[in-house]
């Protein structure tokens, strides 16, 4: 119950989450401890509001000004110094204490051009410090401070004279030495650490940019590095390692304002590439244009306003304006997808506003409020990164839902899942017209016998990937590898300008040509031992198949299902090395698309589960490259170690002994105890098993065979090829026994010639 609520929270929960950063920020600010301020109930602070000219502007005069010219600053809040173009005088009353301890007072702003402290006891000025950014040599710290001791019996007065160019509020510190040192120490690391964190983020963005190569990440990276400058520059910590950096307020301000504009561009880019593209939100485009224009205008015009508060106001307003506009627009879009982006936006405004209000004196300033944007920058960038990643997370979730859909029965994918209009296509299976290709590496067991498991794997991977590269290049798809074979198909519906049959045929030819080239290379380099040439058998068949998921609910396993798949495997079995065996349907497709009939030799093929032979067509590489093909076969036989081991006997006249089957005459060219070489006008593929009637041409020999029931023999075609004389077949006799074979050979020997050597010898 609770779990499901968390898994699928209501919209109001999302809305709440979206504004959570803002709520948290606003909530924590009042309760933040203020390390940089002082106890307002202890010290009375007044500002001089009387006339001020060059005569009056000195401690000797000002300390005697009547009390009604001094206006109390709100003691409830921490003290802020409002600088102006004219000097400002403040008076701080230090009450008497029973046990005086040294106190330090400090103006914690490093860009005040002049800051002077005067300690007045009664009528006499007992101590003074002249500091400010125009007189850095006078202080050993970044900030101007004075050390003094309150009196036991009477109040003393601390006068502060400030000169500044901008209406900026700086915090004043009064406290004991210990807490001053603590403050100083904290300032020394806090801002710099934040800078470091932002640089760390930037490094991650750099990595993202390097891999994703999208402008969004580039601008994110630039923004992070830019914003990283803020904490150290704005707090003055930069002077710790770069003491000579300019202390001119207007230049500093300009730098800061210009750099503020860069994150503004980030929002523009983010809207463009994330929100607008992913959600198809057109309205963002107009907004983005406004933002871009405004940013560029501000960027260019900023130097002209450098010493004027207009610049700050302009940039602040434009920044807030951009964010508000984006927020208003973003409300239109589903909150679930944009939750982190909305959290980001809701964190930016209060963060900037809290700091800006503190600096401008709109709210009571404090050290943490002043530098709240430090924290804000970290939080905002985390949320922005989360927003970007969330998009990928959404994609992952979709992908999991697709998997779930595929694993369950009869689930249809909705277009919402995959962002495309699928019209509710059932994707668990589809019926398509394809040309199926089955490739099988011959004699791979040789490698398997020779090598160890890992080497076999490497070898097989190499061979299969060279095959699959060609298949893919011809718009083919690898369905799966099956041991040393590959099941592929061509559907011809992509970039292919030919039909799928032609694609498949071209791929098959290229594979066989590649292997022949490989054979020639092995021969020419004489590297028989190094590279093992293993030819492949290829079967092609065009059919309508189901492309279906057979994962069984656990995994996704799409594969072809259909009669054609079984068929192509048998077809491939009937194929000889460097040839391609093509089914009738595929052949017709090839002829229709302009292939020449002569390229294909009709051949009879037997199927495992079918009694009748079927018609197929063989394309041999030997047709175009007869010599190369011979070489290739030679290389193959050489490597796998196939040599004729038996004595073969030739028949006197080529057409004297015939084996007749299926109405075809096969004439015996030669024979051995285990098989015969036949030639005929018809072509039968390997693995075909036929019953032959033996016709010796001599009646008494025929009778001899008939008497012993060996006038009919069953044999399997082991190999077949096209030659000038016709189609040659190598057959192997099946069954029978020793005595039958002896008789058969005896009979055939009556018809055979003397071996070649005898004749030359005679």
């Amino acid at each position: 119950m609770v779990l499901s609520w968390f898994k699928n929270p209501p919209t109001w929960a999302y809305r709440l989450l979206a504004i959570l950063p803002a709520l948290v920020f606003v909530a924590i600010v009042p309760v933040l401890p203020d390390v940089g301020g002082f106890d307002g109930s202890l010290y009375r602070v007044e500002r001089y509001v009387g006339p001020l000219d060059s005569n009056l502007d000195s401690i000797e005069v000002i300390k005697n000004q009547s009390a009604n010219l001094w206006v109390a600053e709100d003691p409830q809040y921490h003290f802020g110094v409002k600088g102006a173009r004219e000097p400002v005088w403040y008076r701080i009353t230090i009450p008497a204490v029973a046990h005086p301890k040294s106190l330090i007072s400090e103006v914690g702003y490093h860009l005040l051009p002049k800051a002077d402290f005067y300690l007045v006891d009664g009528q006499s000025v007992t101590a003074s410090v002249f500091g400010g950014s125009e007189r850095p040599a006078l202080v050993d710290n970044l900030f101007t401070s004075i050390k003094f001791r309150p009196e036991q019996s009477r109040e003393v007065y601390l006068y502060l004279r400030l000169e500044t160019q901008a209406p900026i509020v700086a915090p004043l510190f009064i406290g004991d030495e210990q807490s001053f040192l603590a403050l100083n120490s904290m300032r020394g690391w806090f801002h710099v650490l934040i800078t470091g964190v932002l640089i760390g983020f930037g490094l991650y963005s750099l990595a993202l940019f390097l891999t994703m190569r999208k402008p969004l990440y580039a601008i994110l990276l630039v923004s992070q590095f830019t914003v990283a400058i803020f904490p150290t520059f704005f707090s003055g910590q930069i002077y710790n390692i770069w003491p000579n950096f300019t202390r001119d307020l207007s230049i500093n301000l300009l730098i800061i304002m210009e750099t503020v504009l860069i994150p503004q561009i980030l929002i523009f880019f983010f809207n463009q590439s994330y929100v607008a593209r992913d959600l198809g939100a057109k309205s963002f485009n107009n907004l983005a244009k406004i933002v871009a224009t405004m940013t560029i205008v501000e960027f260019v015009s900023a130097p002209f306003f450098s010493s004027s508060p207009i610049l700050i106001v302009l940039v602040t307003v434009s920044n807030l304006g951009v964010i508000v506009a984006v927020i208003i627009d973003i409300m239109k879009w589903p909150i679930k997808n944009l939750i982190f982006y909305r959290m980001f936006l809701s964190s930016v405004i209060p963060g900037i506003a809290i700091s800006a209000a503190s600096w401008l004196g709109v709210t009571a300033p404090s050290y943490f409020k002043h530098y709240f944007f430090d924290v804000n920058a970290v939080v905002s960038f985390i949320l922005l990164a989360a927003a970007m990643t969330h998009r990928i997370r959404n994609l992952e979730l979709k992908h999991r839902r697709i998997v779930r859909a595929l694993r369950s029965d009869n689930l249809r994918l909705t277009d919402q899942l995959v962002d495309v209009d699928l019209n509710l296509v059932p994707i668990d299976h589809r019926e398509i017209d394809v040309t199926i290709m089955y490739i099988d590496i011959m004699s791979f067991s040789l490698v398997a016998e020779r090598d160890s498991g890992r080497e076999i794997f490497t070898d097989l991977t190499r061979r299969l990937s060279s095959l699959s590269r060609i298949v893919t290049a011809h718009n083919g798809v690898i369905d799966r590898s099956l041991g040393d074979g590959l099941l592929c198909f061509f559907s011809g519906n992509r970039n292919s300008s030919f039909g799928h049959a032609t694609d498949a045929f071209n791929a098959a030819s290229e594979i066989q040509n590649m292997l022949i080239d490989e054979a020639l290379r092995i021969k020419s380099q004489g590297i028989y031992d190094k590279d093992l040439l293993l030819p492949v058998r290829i079967g092609l068949h065009s059919d309508r198949v189901l492309l279906a998921n057979l994962g069984g609910g656990v995994r996704v396993d799409f594969t072809m299902v259909g009669h054609g798949v079984n068929f192509v495997a048998s077809l491939e079995q009937a194929c000889g090395p460097f040839n391609v065996m093509i089914s009738e349907s595929c052949y017709h497709k090839l002829i229709t698309s302009g292939h020449v009939v002569d390229d294909f030799a009709p051949v009879k093929v037997s199927l495992k589960y079918q009694r009748d032979l079927i018609q197929a067509y063989e394309h041999s590489m030997g047709m175009k490259r007869p010599y190369d093909m011979k070489t290739a076969i030679g290389v193959y036989f050489n490597q796998v170690g196939v040599f004729p081991r038996e004595t073969r006997h030739s028949i006197v006249s080529e057409r004297s002994v015939a084996l007749i089957s299926n109405g075809t005459h096969f004439y015996v060219l030669d024979y051995s105890p285990s098989g015969m070489r036949l030639v005929s006008d018809n072509y039968f593929a390997q693995k075909v098993v036929m019953e032959f009637v033996v016709e010796t041409g001599v009646e008494h020999l025929n009778k001899k065979l008939r008497d012993k029931f060996i006038d009919r023999i069953i044999a399997e075609v082991k190999w077949s090829r096209k030659t000038e004389a016709g189609f040659e077949h190598g057959i192997k006799l099946m069954g029978g026994n020793q005595r039958q074979m002896e008789l058969l050979i005896h009979v055939l020997s009556k018809r055979h010639t003397m071996p070649e050597s005898w004749r030359t010898g005679a």
Partner: protein, 763 residues
């Protein structure tokens, strides 16, 4: 090949080598304006705790300091006295500061400063790691003593106490120089620590959003490196001086984070490299190593320094060895390459830091930061790889959408939806049980039916099979034709398991399920299944190239399992000898397994295997399901069969045994024997009958020897029954043989029983 591997190995470490180069040759980046004064160290067996006693020691006890930095970890406390001749300092209106600091690894617990003029102690200051309140207002981590040289013969004595033998050189600065120096140092330490923190936060942020535990481990790995960095830079004293713990409590905390660094590294690498899939055999060892690391890390909280050092050595060395093992030969994969690059940054930075920190190599400020810099570079480089994962996810979605949109690319979903980012980059040899399950006579069954009908039933059947396989701890390698190849012992590798038993139990369940299914519904296409199981060492890995993931098993064992399946009769299971042995070892009853001989391609010898009939106890069930199947595929035509006459006998004598013919048809024999032969096995037999006349007739016709092929075989109460068909020969030969037999031996003609037909059909 080997040189290529070397180039990758070198290239992946090149950036870290450049870093090493910088560490070795870079000048000291932060110039320190310290004043040089003569410094001596007390060299005596005694350990005076009192300054007065030290002042009384003769000059010979003092030795000019030559060591600038040294730390030897021991479990004992060591104290050292230093003496600085500060008379030689130039006149200065400002205060002088003498600073003393520990090493990054071990802080000084006590530091006592004495300003002495002659024999008179002018002032003293006690500070050190055990007194956090004394340095809380300082910016950096050093212990300071402020003094002025106002009297002649002024010296400064310093006494330090530390866990382990620690010597460092006191430095003297003018106060202003020191402040400048300290401020810039704090700046750099802050920014470096901040950077590390930022990278860690980012990783954890990614974890929160992606909920991928890989990022969690990475984040905590980085967090540990942040804490390590904070520890060795004593940054904790800067940021939270008041909560800074005493030094002897701090170092175990530092050590625990150091250990945590390795633990999270190992956890992360486990996910990153997908150990379970890529190193299935080593998973157990990797796990033991991980647990050992966790244990070490836990003990760090209580252990003495020397023990920590020993264990850290173990962690570092084993981490390097472990990673080397994981990388070896796989650096071509970009994510392995990046990991190696990142790791070498950590290693170079860490080692340079430690060596300079304990004074083995010269200490410089840059080397002091090398741990930070190495970690930052390491993390940043690793984040490139983590970004690649993000890109992979993004691209995968695009590919999935494309694949779904286009009909022909659906098969691409297999890899896209099943495989993880790292996929399989390693091959491993593994002992597994392979089980081939497929549908007998699938081609015949599918004839005359629409492909969608076939698919519907096939898919449902495979779903049931897969369910059973998963239940028994097996996994599906792939669907092969009308069946599946399952692996047992791959998922559970490293645990105590018996894959053969699992596979066997699954096979029995599958056949039971299939019988239930066949008998259960009239609407379903009946698909009898056959199962072959073999246990062997096979190679598991990715056959696909870079663009394609194709994880599978290869090996001779796979082919054998396939062959066993081919020889199997419907609704039965065939096991190899290896499986039977394992079943026996596993305490299973192997009495019910019937030995069966099977012909194997390219092999003259028959293979010995074992057949199991899951319905041995319920033969009627098997009979029923077979008859249902037969009816289903519309088998009607029956051969006429002839029983032998009462006294007649035909024996088929072969190398493997004698087969007694029970009846025969015009095509073959039904014969029993004590020996079981698998389907498709071809044997040569000599025909011997009870009638010598017929024997002579056959011999005369050269037909007493014939080749027979096993069409079906099964166990009956009389022994093993086989259906033989004459192999090869010619039609006239079999005609002659059976005609001769008919005349000589035929008794009554019998009609063939359904179960014989079904086995024949299913062949």
């Amino acid at each position: 090949m080997a040189s290529k591997t070397f180039i990758y190995a070198l290239a992946s470490r090149l950036p870290a080598l450049l870093f090493l180069f910088a560490i070795v040759f870079s000048p000291d980046i932060l110039s320190v304006k310290s004043q040089h004064v003569a410094t001596s160290i007390l060299n005596t067996q005694e350990d005076p705790t009192d300054i007065a006693a030290v002042l009384d020691l003769p000059e010979s006890s003092w030795q000019t300091s030559t060591v600038s930095r040294k730390y030897i970890p021991t479990d004992a406390w060591h104290t050292h006295w230093y003496r600085l001749e500060v008379d030689s300092l130039p006149s200065n209106n400002d205060d002088w500061l003498v600073t003393m600091e520990g090493t990054g690894i071990m802080d000084l617990s006590k530091v006592e400063f004495f300003l002495v003029s002659g024999q008179q102690v002018l002032s003293r200051f006690n500070t050190g790691g055990d007194y956090p309140e004394t340095f809380s207002s300082q910016q950096d981590s050093r212990y300071l003593f402020k003094f002025r040289v106002e009297k002649p013969d002024t010296r400064i004595y310093i006494r330090t106490a530390s866990n382990g033998d620690l010597i460092n050189t006191p430095q003297i600065y003018s106060e202003r120089d020191y402040k400048d120096h300290a401020r810039s140092l704090v700046f750099i330490v802050s920014i470096l620590n901040g950077c590390l923190l930022g990278l860690a936060i980012y990783s954890l942020g990614l974890f929160v959003v992606l909920r991928d535990v890989t990022y969690f481990y990475l984040g905590f790995w980085q967090i540990c490196s942040v804490f390590m960095a904070i520890y060795v830079s004593r940054f904790i004293k800067t940021i939270a001086p008041m909560i800074a713990i005493k030094s002897e409590q701090l170092y175990p905390v530092g050590a625990v984070f150091f250990g945590g660094f390795f633990v999270f590294l190992f956890l992360f690498a486990g996910k990153y490299f997908d150990y379970r899939r890529n190193f299935p055999k080593s998973v157990l060892y990797l796990k033991i190593h991980l647990y050992a690391s966790v244990m070490s890390t836990v003990t760090f909280a209580f252990a003495k320094p020397s023990w920590i050092i020993v264990q850290l050595g173990f962690l570092i060395v084993s981490a390097i060895v472990r990673n080397m093992f994981v990388y070896s030969g796989h650096l071509k994969q970009s994510f392995v390459f990046l990991f190696s690059t990142a790791a070498s940054f950590y290693i170079v930075g860490g080692i340079a830091f430690v060596l300079s920190d304990v004074g083995i190599i010269e200490w410089t400020q840059f080397r002091y930061f090398s741990l930070h810099i190495g970690s930052i570079f390491g993390s940043a480089i690793l984040s490139v790889s983590m970004s690649q994962r993000l890109k992979f996810m993004e691209k995968r979605h695009k590919d999935i959408v494309n694949a779904i949109k286009k009909d022909d690319e659906l098969v691409k979903l297999n890899a896209l939806l099943n495989e993880s980012f790292s996929g399989h980059f390693n091959t491993s040899d593994l002992d597994v049980s392979m089980m081939f399950v497929d549908i007998a006579s699938f081609s015949e069954i599918s004839l005359g039916r629409t492909q969608s009908d076939i698919y519907r039933d096939l898919s449902a059947l495979i779903t049931s099979v897969v369910g059973i396989v998963e239940e028994h701890g097996g996994s599906i390698d792939r669907s092969v034709g009308a069946g599946v190849l399952c692996l047992f012992g791959y998922k559970k590798v490293g645990k105590s398991f018996d894959p053969s038993v699992d596979a066997f139990s699954a096979a029995c369940r599958i056949q039971e399920m299939n019988v239930q299914r066949s008998l259960g519904s009239v609407n379903k296409i009946i698909m009898p299944m056959r199962i072959g199981i073999h246990t062997a060492k096979v190679t598991i890995g990715n056959l696909g190239d870079q663009g394609r993931i194709d994880f599978t098993v290869i090996g001779a064992g796979v082919n054998l399992a396939s062959r066993l399946k081919e020889s199997c009769s419907p609704y039965k299971v065939i096991l190899s000898q290896a499986v039977r042995d394992q079943l026996k070892a596993g305490g299973r009853d192997v009495e019910r397994l019937s030995p069966i001989s099977i012909a194997v391609k390219h092999q003259a010898k028959l293979l010995e295997a074992f057949e199991f009939n899951p319905f041995g106890a319920a033969p009627e069930l098997l009979q029923r399901v077979e008859s249902v199947f037969l009816e289903h595929i519309g088998m009607r035509s029956l051969d006429q069969r002839f029983r032998l006459k009462n006294d007649a006998q035909i024996n088929l004598v072969s190398d493997v045994g004698v087969f007694q013919v029970r009846d025969f048809s015009n095509y073959g024999f039904r014969a029993v024997s004590t020996k079981l032969l698998g389907r498709q096995t071809v044997i040569n037999v000599k025909i011997q009958t009870s009638n010598p006349h017929i024997d002579a007739q056959l011999s005369e016709a050269l037909l007493s020897d014939v080749a027979l092929e096993v069409r079906w075989s099964r166990q009956t109460e009389h022994g093993f029954e086989h259906g033989f068909k004459i192999y090869g020969g010619g039609s006239r030969q079999s005609e002659f043989i059976f005609n001769t037999f008919k005349i000589g031996f035929a008794g009554d003609a019998i009609s063939q029983t359904l179960d014989q037909i079904v086995t024949e059909v299913a062949s």
